[in-house]
């Protein structure tokens, strides 16, 4: 019951007749729109959301504990399992952390190869996100188109590192193998094709009045609020805050490349959507430059001991993951096993922003907002 009605009713018997309570709706953990095992307990007044409590942890696998029992090298593949649609970026984050701690100089060619794979992975992630987000809002065809393009990227990964989803792409220090024959040509073909496909998605969504009605002005979060809530990645940039790890804290020779950081204006679902779509185009620019300016040289540093034994100390290193700032806090005690490894997973922290976005909206907007956050529950729960 709205407050106005309640006040109008006063203390009369009418009030008793009009008295309503909120309704509790279990949104998840098995719900098609929660993108995994995420549970939100919604307090509803009719279809309007008045409260939300997030319940997570259904996919907690204790990866941070697990890592403490493995050597630095052996721990690499487990981080692919965090964000399983952006696995290469996770791997880059971890090996980058160890390299920073040990002050390993990664050869330039290896860095460029990493940039190529990273950006391909970012595009793959955004394509899958675009499809699922559109599917949440009812546009099912975009999902299949997005998967179709993603399939090409997966094939490229398979040809390059042998795996499609959980690649274990980088060893500590560099990359394993160079591009196979014909890979660059295949990659360039894909890069030439993708902008047209992106135009098609934008034709289907960006100007569609139904899409605009569903996304414009929904889940608005201002830039200051977003920074205070620690949001990062496209979710933060949708609110117009210029923060991209690739630009602000450059790593892996990202400072060599000329690209823009797309920003939104209102911080609503539409802005978060359009920022990601533009980011794919920027990723293509980076890819183009990286492939064109690929330096020659070794793939692994010359002096690298087989056993990774970093000096005692701590390090925090972050990369621009597909979902936001993906940071690793690593403590070494001088042995060959990490003393502690904490993952600052962007999905986990971005999910905190959901409450601010959905309260006051409708049930259908909860779906739009969860989609616009681009969470992966493997990363939320670790």
């Amino acid at each position: 019951m709205t407050t106005e009605l309640r006040e109008a009713a006063g203390t009369s018997p009418l009030r008793k007749a009009l008295e309503t309570t909120t309704m509790e709706l279990n949104f998840g953990p098995q719900h098609p729109a929660t993108h995994g095992v995420y549970r939100a307990v919604l307090q509803l007044d009719g279809e309007r959301v008045v409260g939300i409590e997030s319940i997570i942890g259904y996919l907690h696998r204790g990866i941070e504990k697990w890592v403490e029992y493995r050597t630095y090298t052996k721990a690499t593949p487990i981080f692919d399992r965090l964000d399983y649609v952006g696995a290469i970026l996770n791997c880059h984050g971890y090996v980058g952390t160890v390299e920073k701690l040990m002050k390993i100089e990664v050869p330039k060619r290896a860095q460029y190869i990493r940039v190529v794979l990273d950006e391909l992975q970012r595009i793959a992630n955004h394509l899958l996100w675009l499809g699922t987000h559109a599917l949440d809002l009812g546009a099912m065809t975009v999902l299949f188109y997005g998967l179709r393009e993603r399939e090409v990227i997966m094939d490229l990964f398979e040809a390059m590192v042998g795996q499609r989803l959980l690649q274990n792409a980088y060893p500590i220090g560099g990359v394993r193998l160079d591009f196979p024959r014909g890979w660059e040509r295949a990659c360039r073909n894909f890069m030439a094709e993708l902008p047209h496909r992106l135009d098609e998605y934008e034709t289907l969504l960006s100007s569609n009045r139904m899409w605009l009605q569903r996304t414009k002005g929904i889940g608005v979060i201002s830039g200051a609020e977003a920074v205070a809530l620690g949001l990062s990645g496209p979710t933060l940039r949708g609110s117009g805050v210029y923060f991209d790890v690739r630009k602000c804290i450059p790593y892996g020779s990202y400072e060599d490349f000329d690209f823009e950081v797309p920003l939104g204006e209102n911080g609503d679902v539409y802005d978060r959507y359009i920022v990601r779509v533009r980011e794919m185009r920027q990723s293509l620019r980076i890819l183009q430059q990286a492939l064109d300016g690929m330096p020659e040289g070794p793939l692994m540093p010359e002096k690298l001991s087989k056993i990774i034994r970093p000096p005692a100390g701590e390090v925090y290193f972050s990369v621009e993951g597909a979902k936001g700032q993906l940071g690793y806090y690593l403590v070494s005690d001088g042995t060959d096993k990490p003393w502690k490894c904490h993952v600052r997973s962007p999905s986990f922290i971005n999910l905190q922003g959901l409450e601010k976005m959905v309260v006051g909206g409708l049930v259908a907007d909860v779906v739009a907002n969860i989609g616009s956050l681009d969470i992966v529950l493997g990363e939320v729960d670790r």
């Binding site: 504990k65 002050k103 034994r309 000096p311 972050s318 940071g327 001088g334 502690k340 904490h342 905190q352």
Partner: protein, 252 residues
């Protein structure tokens, strides 16, 4: 434990070796490797002693190596808080300060509000467990300034059970991260609006990321210690391995 052996050389025949001691158990009650010296270069690490001592020598404190990095921010903090702020060595050139617990809330608020610091973005909050140090726990705040593009790490050392002031009033993003640290290490954050379990089930014994907590939980540790020599799937003894494989085949 075979990880510690030098690679590239074939091992002596395993069959002649006595079954190794269960690894899960000693690792669970783990302490930092006594042989690990804070030497910066890996090749200088001494070889482990050949016979494993029954009682490990007194564990050494965890101490970072490297240099203390001084930046304008740490200078400003030192000027403002004096002795309560202390630089921490970093092996890779990061600005780290250790703040006394009493001054922590003040220091964080200062970092957020001061015009020169302007740390509006708390990128990471976590805790760490050092069972052999004087103060067993550390809470780590990785602050970043979106406007000024600089970073500093603030740490605070705590005893077991000692409460830590919550950073939620300063950075709302600390909310879930403090809940997670509470789950994993049992650190109590004073002034947190909703300090309850977040990742673990609501009824859960212990705090899994503490060092004394065995991998897989106490129950699994008992099972593993009983059945397998290490968290692998085959014993080192060839006959036993063959038997296990054969038993597996017979089950069908």
């Amino acid at each position: 434990m075979s990880d510690e052996e030098k690679p590239g050389q074939p091992e002596p025949p395993a069959a002649s070796e006595a079954p190794k001691a269960p690894e899960a158990a000693p690792k669970a009650a783990s302490s930092p490797d006594p042989t690990a010296s804070p030497a910066p270069a890996a090749p200088a690490a001494p070889k482990p002693p050949a016979p494993k001592p029954a009682v490990p020598p007194a564990p050494k404190k965890w101490e970072p190596t490297g240099e203390v990095v001084v930046t304008p921010v740490t200078e400003k903090l030192a000027a403002r808080f004096g002795d309560a702020v202390q630089g921490v060595k970093s092996p890779c050139g990061e600005a780290i300060v250790l703040v006394k617990k009493e001054k922590l809330g003040e220091a964080l608020a200062f970092l957020k509000s001061d015009a020169d610091c302007a740390f509006d973005f708390l990128s990471n909050l976590t805790a760490a467990h050092y069972p052999v140090n004087d103060k067993k726990f550390e809470v780590v705040y990785d602050c970043y300034s979106v406007a000024k593009r600089h970073a500093v790490r603030v740490k605070v050392a705590l005893d077991d059970g000692e409460p830590c002031p919550s950073a939620v009033p300063i950075w709302p993003t600390a909310n879930w991260q403090e809940r997670e640290a509470h789950d994993m290490y049992g650190i109590v954050f004073e002034g947190h609006p909703n300090l309850k379990v977040i990742l673990l089930p609501e009824v859960w014994d212990g705090h899994p990321l503490r060092k004394e907590y065995p991998l897989g939980g106490p129950k699994e540790a008992a099972i593993r210690a009983d059945k397998f020599a290490k968290p692998g799937y085959m014993p080192d003894d060839l006959e036993a391995a063959e038997r296990i494989a054969e038993e597996g085949r017979r089950d069908h």
